[in-house]
Point group: C2
């Protein structure tokens, strides 16, 4: 009786509406539960099965998509609830979210303690925060409003929010790039070198969110990357390392949620960046981490001053969490490799690993420098010898051999695909390459179809400082359809300053 | 050619999905435009006709709700675009929103100038901000982060964002309640008295958003309230005042958008409250405003210190905008009238206006005091005589007469409806009424069906300090169905502390 009043039971139906990450519940306008519970359109509603529950946003249907007694679910809600067609779901008013008081306290300028950050992050991971709550929390933590102690609390809370790996060896190496630089695909090479040298490096990487390729997208053109934690452990125990997609594991799930909102807001919050990077590393069981921090006017970190401030935060929080860090501040003024797009970057990676003549020198150089950083930080190489040792492991073919074995362990190695359509963009006048805009180059590769079309993107034929004659190749666009090629071309015509030339002096 | 590439034309269809205020666009998974433009689920998309354009959130359909070439629109998107079935709409990537840089600057702690607030508010009204952007802006303006100068800029920008009325008379009186107190329905009485005394008072009121009744909901049980600006002007020119719904006019539209997000966040931002209240008044052409500010532990303003701080802001911003203010800080420790719910509050209002014996004394008293404040502020009454004059206008029946004439001018007067189901809640033990919780009383009235069911809600039979015997009536619940009555009862059983009794001493 009481239950019939407070929690109305309906049959779950997958309505076939993709709302990306957003769980949405659809009810008929004449639904008894909507009326009796006072659920309006856009209300938050708790949808529960016997074993799981989510908070979904309600949309009211005036169309015949549902029959009476049905609760329609968006794809995201369906996946999170793990229901089957016709399963019973129970609708409630969502329980009050106590930690929203902490969120508001942070908005009002309070310093939160460890318990408060734990409560906030736990509720975020449980899906109890609406996007507006997440956005307010992110805004309240931006603009230098987190103390170092608060960043430590936030990072610790984020680690505690998910699963955590541990390994029976020491050290456990890792590598992270602060990002923003297209074609900066050093990770597969660095892991191959480090692991070939006997180190343990259980590397998880992300897929592209707003960029034309993430390391996971690039790796996926050569092998399988969606390893669960058990498979990941098996691969690492056998080969010493892996190159997996982090999203299949459930390390620091709060980070995935906060990053989505930060990107929508385009807020670069140093505190949350630090918590994001370091929480993933601690959760993966890593103990020593090399941080790749490219600095340039169109990279994520835009000045040396910003790099120093960020390094200070990373170091302090790393210390508090028992992580040894080496931060490598590098040149972020132009893309590193030649290719931009999953398969095109994979070809650059393979060219470096295989010692091919076509290997982009800057990618090889940057990967060697970061690999040397890993060997140094591991303490297994005499100081001053790490660079020579990394180079020898790469040039001897041992890194390539190890890379192939890791791919085999993950499900088999394959060559990356090639696009069917190409278009060459050539210099309209002679000159010297003055700038290559990272953001616009990334946009161009995305318009060509990357990362959804693995083979799409672009190949740069020049680097800054190169001298070109009229008619010389600047870049080649790759796409899977003439339409997409046309799109990218349209953008290039409107934004020819992706590459700027200076009259040669 | 260029147009075919960049802006794909589709036929608009109303899909019958109510998303409240949120404009949503639905496209088929296999839609060419989604693929070619790179629109993912939850992307922001500009949907345009020849004359209008909106930004909508995209949801991708895998169901057969749409045929090829159709663009499905949610009700909110449909209304805002003002299209007909089959009209052509054109989809674009939304233009970059430049003012988001100002929003981010505010998040980072900058002081914004007048031009920056204008840009932000203009983009908000144009629907260019996503909810996460709005939430970040609201958070960045909370916690005392707006200077008085910034509140002036924000208020001015909000006025400039909508239409603005002007009147050929001076003074133009207005009245506003800071809110949070159920049954505080003094406005119709105050307007009737002031207008009967020859003053001009073009009053617009809001509907309930989270409360069981707004003044517009209450007035709607007695007359029509959705007057456009032209009709409103006609009524005011004829009768000296009106009691209209503000949402039908388009005064300070930014306020409606920001308030929605503030409520979702439950953030009480003083700066935004001041801008919200005063922008509506300036836009309505008012020059002198009485502010009703009830203070109590379960009201919106919870302490005298908070009331003083808020009054300071209101006064400073009122000065800057040329608004004369009189702030009346009153007792907000319990509901003012007897009824809570649109029609029940209307009956209290009518009882006071008609001088009936059943008129709630506190409502009569509070309305007289606020009306006296209006007469005083207008300067047409000798100091010290305003209260006597207001009382005489009420008691002589002139206020009731004028109220009826205003209703006639707005479309005719009718008696408020009565509910079909009632339930009396009685004291389980003798005692003295110690507290009446404003928030819980409001919740109870809403569970009974208010404000959607105009006749639903509750009638309080007691006030604080009253002594009751066991079995005495505490309140009567009113609902339009036994189910809803049961709901409210369930809540009362779980929260008997809506009213607390102390053992009589």
């Amino acid at each position: 009786m009481n239950d019939a009043n407070h929690r109305l039971r309906l049959r779950a139906v997958r309505v076939g509406i993709d709302t990306r990450h957003e769980p949405v519940l659809f009810l008929r306008r004449d639904s008894e539960v909507a009326r009796s519970e006072g659920f309006d359109a856009m209300s938050q509603v708790q949808v529960a099965t016997d074993s799981r529950s989510i908070i979904a946003t309600l949309m009211i249907l005036e169309t015949e998509l549902l029959s009476e007694g049905q609760a329609g679910l968006s794809d995201a809600a369906w996946r999170r609830l793990r229901v089957e067609d016709g399963d019973t779901v129970i609708l409630h008013h969502p329980p009050p979210v106590d930690s929203l008081a902490d969120m508001r306290a942070k908005v009002y300028g309070a310093q939160l303690n460890a318990a408060q950050f734990n409560d906030v992050i736990r509720d975020i991971v449980a899906g109890r925060y609406m996007d507006v709550h997440l956005a307010a929390f992110v805004a309240a933590c931006s603009g230098g409003r987190l103390s170092r102690q608060e960043i430590v609390h936030l990072t610790t809370a984020m680690v505690a929010s998910g699963e955590r790996l541990s390994w029976d060896v020491e050290p456990v190496m890792d590598k992270h790039s602060v990002g923003g630089l297209p074609g900066n695909r050093t990770t597969p090479i660095v892991v191959a070198i480090a692991v070939a040298d006997g180190l343990t490096m259980p590397k998880t990487s992300s897929r592209a969110i707003t960029s034309p390729a993430g390391t996971a997208d690039t790796m996926e053109t050569m092998t399988r990357v969606d390893l669960g934690l058990t498979e990941m452990r098996r691969v690492v125990e056998r080969e010493g390392g892996c190159l997996a997609w982090g999203g299949a594991a459930t390390l620091s799930p709060a980070d995935d949620i906060l990053i989505r909102v930060e990107r929508a807001l385009d807020l670069d919050s140093e505190g949350q960046l630090v918590a994001s990077v370091l929480s993933k590393k601690v959760a993966a069981g890593s103990t020593r981490v090399v941080i790749d921090m490219p600095v340039g006017p169109t990279a994520k970190v835009r000045s040396l001053a910003a790099a120093e401030r960020l390094s200070g935060y990373l170091g302090a929080v790393g210390d508090a969490l028992g992580l040894a860090l080496h931060i490598d501040v590098g040149d972020g003024s132009e893309p590193i490799g030649r290719g931009i797009g999953p398969a095109l970057e994979a070809r650059d990676v393979l060219a470096v690993l295989r010692g091919e003549k076509s290997a982009p020198p800057a990618l090889r150089q940057r990967a060697l420098q970061l690999a040397a950083g890993v060997l140094n930080l591991a303490g297994t190489t005499a100081p001053g010898e790490a660079m020579a040792r990394a180079t020898s492991i790469l040039d001897s073919g041992r890194a390539w051999e190890r890379f192939r074995r890791i791919c085999e362990a993950q499900g088999g190695f394959r060559e990356p695909p090639r696009a069917t359509c190409h278009h060459e963009l050539r210099a309209g006048c002679p000159g010297r390459v003055k700038t290559i805009d990272n953001r616009k180059a990334a946009r161009l590769a995305k318009l060509a179809g990357a990362p959804a079309d693995k083979a799409a993107g672009l190949d740069l034929a020049v680097r800054r400082g190169d001298t070109v004659a009229r008619g010389d190749l600047l870049m080649t666009l790759h796409a899977d359809s003439p339409g997409e090629l046309e799109y990218a071309l349209d953008y290039f015509r409107a934004h020819p300053d992706v590459i700027t030339l200076a009259a040669d002096s």
